[in-house]
Symmetry: C2
Subunit: 214 residues, 2 copies
């Protein structure tokens, strides 16, 4: 399999953590998002959504959308599991995963920030405030969801990493770029610190990727 990603993409980061946790070795290829390499005709032919990541299977089939890729990896490489066994627990983990994946990241990713500046005439400062607003809104919801729930353990759900942690951690990296004060989200901070001690998370972080830039 080949993962096409970008070191700073939160969505690619989620998939890298899953591959590490499940000990799946893949070839890595890169599209430089700030240079628009996700919009070239050859990449659009591979992924009409013109987003990273894409996972190219050995059969040649191309999987897109990080959450769909995570579910595929879970179904085809079930150990260690990234979802609990019980349906209610699975729904909780998926709902937590969707907070960064659907309700934060898509609203403040590169293409949206570009539109805000170029077509809505927003300053760098206003675009920055926008991004921070949606991160903080989502983090407040995540914090309220995990802080007093007995199902929260060392990780977001129990004592092993789940899809929720895989989606949370890249968003916290992203939040650092927007100077979000994590002290407001003590449970998220604790979960992040626990995750980053895990080699699968550490090795997946942007700075450790071959295409990383300062």
């Amino acid at each position: 399999m080949k993962l096409i990603g970008y070191f700073r993409s939160s969505a690619a980061f989620r998939v890298r953590i899953a591959l590490n946790l499940k000990d799946i070795t893949v070839e890595h290829a890169f599209r430089h998002l700030r240079r628009g390499e996700q919009s070239t005709p050859d990449y659009a032919a591979l992924n009409p959504q013109k987003l990273v990541p894409a996972l190219v299977l050995d059969s040649g089939e191309v999987l897109t959308q990080s959450l769909a890729i995570l579910e595929y990896l879970e179904e085809t490489h079930p150990e260690p599991p990234l979802l609990p066994k019980d349906p209610v627990g699975r729904a909780r983990v998926r709902a937590l995963a969707l907070i960064p994946t659907a309700d934060i990241h898509p609203i403040q990713n590169l293409r949206v920030m570009t539109y805000l500046r170029e077509r809505c005439g927003q300053s760098e400062e206003a675009a920055f405030a926008w991004s921070r607003h949606w991160i903080e809104t989502g983090f407040a919801a995540y914090e309220a969801s995990v802080a007093n729930d007995r199902r929260t353990g060392a990780f977001s759900h129990g004592d092993q990493p789940t899809m929720a942690d895989l989606c949370l951690v890249p968003q916290i990296f992203n939040a650092g770029r927007f100077k979000v004060d994590m002290a407001k989200y003590p449970t998220l901070k604790r979960l992040f610190d626990t995750c980053m001690k895990h080699p699968a998370f550490d090795a997946a972080q942007p700075a450790r990727q071959p295409d990383a830039e300062p």
Copy 2:
């Protein structure tokens, strides 16, 4: 079970279609989003994300995030299936479902449009153009993904409705409010027409809900 929704919410609409397809009867309750009823303390205690829908189980547990709810319904009420059997097909359906769910709707939902107008000083016209831009970007990706794929059938994946159709149809309803020209997306138009002939989709549409307004 009780579904807390709002007639015009795309996310609640997805869940209503699934309940109809699987012939699951639930109690319906409503939060009027334009009156801010999703942000009251009693609802925030139920769903800290302050979004609809929420599915309250008979056990009292509350499920949130429409895609997590769809997966829960699929796991607990497997017939008729909303996902194919093969992992690559499942990944395709989930990736299609995520185009409206993650890459269109969160960028142009009520709270984002409100922020654009009130805090970015955008006119009604500019907010309208914003919404249309993200719908058209996502629809172009969906169209390119289904138009020439042999797995596309009467529905987005094969000849039975899947999660992909459940997520596409509410977004096409929403697109109508933003005057998106569906002639540019002939496959989506065909899929929509097929879906809307199905009683499960028809009965779930906003105008048929008890809380509907003109």
